[in-house]
């Protein structure tokens, strides 16, 4: 069995002394792991950096074999972002979240294309934190845990929605949420598509909300935590915001 597809490199782990087991995110085949011969060598190391765009060809004797990849670098995103502390943290966090959340060998083309847009915009500090939050929101929806953000869970109103209920994953209006605001999650307007403008504080709020649902809906049932790279990103964004 074999296929060829575009992909984003999510991670690469050493295998033996010379090779690597690489996890890619492809539009048509989802998250897919395979062996890369010579993956620890000088030629392949720059290709196997997380976030890089590659052209991948996978071959395996059987469809459920580990198989091996032949890779060609298409978009060297990691190298372009290495000097930027926040962007690099964003790149690591996005790849870690994708690696932790996506089921193996299940196509999620929309999540892939949204991730490509996010990674391609990581050099624009005004844009990417909000893009990351929107990508995570889309990822939740793609995996069957979408949030209902168009009406209030308590009153049904579509006005003044500023909270999300951690229990129902639905929006809550300012009035209905007032008595419980300490327990509710923030809902910035840009996350509902009401406003194109998003400040860093808005993006941070949105990432707290999406992070909560990613952890409780996707990762905790599988006995996992949010990736450390994402926690580090939030820490850095909070410092920058202050």
């Amino acid at each position: 069995m074999q296929f060829a597809d575009e992909a984003v490199v999510l991670s690469a782990r050493p295998h033996g002394e010379a090779h690597a087991v690489v996890e890619l995110f492809t539009p048509a085949h989802g998250r897919w792991a395979g062996l890369v011969y010579g993956g620890q060598g000088r030629r392949m190391q720059p290709v196997l950096q997380p976030g890089n765009g590659v052209r991948a060809e996978w071959k395996g004797r059987l469809s459920d074999s580990l198989g091996h990849f032949s890779l060609e670098l298409v978009n060297a995103r990691a190298a372009a972002l290495m000097q930027e502390r926040l962007s690099l943290a964003g790149l690591s966090a996005a790849c870690a979240v994708a690696a932790a959340c996506l089921p193996e060998r299940e196509a999620h083309a929309r999540a892939y294309h949204a991730m490509s847009v996010l990674l391609d915009n990581l050099d624009d500090a005004q844009v990417w934190p909000a893009l990351m939050a929107r990508w995570e929101l889309g990822l939740l929806a793609e995996l069957g845990f979408g949030l209902t953000l168009d009406r209030c869970a308590a009153t049904g109103t579509r006005e003044n929605l500023i909270y999300v209920s951690p229990r129902s994953a639905c929006a809550v209006s300012a009035e209905a949420g007032e008595p419980y605001k300490g327990k509710l999650l923030p809902l910035p307007a840009f996350l509902r598509g009401e406003s194109a403008e998003a400040s860093l504080a808005d993006a941070l709020d949105a990432l707290k909300t999406t992070g909560y649902f990613i952890e409780t809906r996707i990762l905790h049932p599988a006995g996992r935590q949010l990736p450390e790279a994402r926690a580090r990103l939030l820490e850095l964004l909070a410092k920058t915001n202050n």
Binding site: S11, R13, E17, Q45, P46, V47, Q49, P50, G51, N52, L73, A76, A78, A79, A80, M82, Q83, R85, L88, A89, L91, S92, A96, A99, P227, E228, A229, R232
Partner: protein, 203 residues
């Protein structure tokens, strides 16, 4: 007829099994190495056994920089000729040796013992970072060079260290990236070329 485990004595088999654990050696090359050692018992095998035992007993990580040596502080930290105002931070002792081989750095070193890698579960507490911050706070230190790999993990670690060393009165520098000596542009990967263009300097 193949030589199976049953046809080799337990002492020799143990030697082969241990040799096969070394980097670059598999079971077959470990057998070749074991046979070579047995043939060269006096000139190679006994001195090697002695050297291994001595290194196991005496070589330890330097309490100052993390370099491997039989004395503490290590020969580099104890060398009064070296420039104590510059500390070069490296991932592993192999990187320290590479810089020494190049003769490019005459200051001191600090070996982190790895890189921050969330995927592999390596966090700040697993690295020799606390001691680096202590050293950087010393009045004599003027510069810390972050000589870490140009990988996502390497540069994430460099950014992390930059943050933690920001409170120290030292200049923080990092190795530049670009065209290697003897490198032709046509053969370079896109990432290196992009980094080289980004960090170009006046001719």
């Amino acid at each position: 007829m193949p030589t199976g485990k049953g046809q080799i004595g337990p002492e020799l088999q143990r030697l082969i099994d241990l040799l096969a654990k070394l980097p670059g050696l598999g079971p077959r090359s470990a057998k070749r190495a074991a046979l070579y050692l047995l043939k060269k018992r006096e000139p190679v095998m006994r001195p090697l056994a002695y050297a291994l035992a001595e290194a196991a007993d005496k070589v330890a990580a330097c309490s100052t920089c993390g370099n491997w040596d039989s004395i503490d502080p290590c020969a580099i930290c104890a060398d009064a000729e070296r420039d104590g105002s510059v500390i070069c931070v490296v991932q592993d002792v192999g990187d320290l040796w590479a810089l020494e081989r190049a003769g490019a750095h005459r200051g001191l070193y600090h070996v982190l013992g790895g890189l921050l890698s969330p995927l592999d579960g390596v966090g700040p507490d697993d690295l020799n970072i606390g001691r680096l911050v202590e050293r950087a706070r010393a009045e004599s230190v003027k510069e810390v060079v972050l000589a870490l790999p140009a990988t996502v993990d390497g540069q994430s670690t460099a950014h992390y260290l930059s943050e933690h060393l920001a409170g120290c009165a030292v200049a923080l520098t990092r190795l530049s990236q670009g065209v290697p000596v003897g490198g032709e542009l046509d053969y370079l990967d896109e990432g290196t070329l992009a980094a080289a263009m980004k960090t170009r300097r006046p001719a």
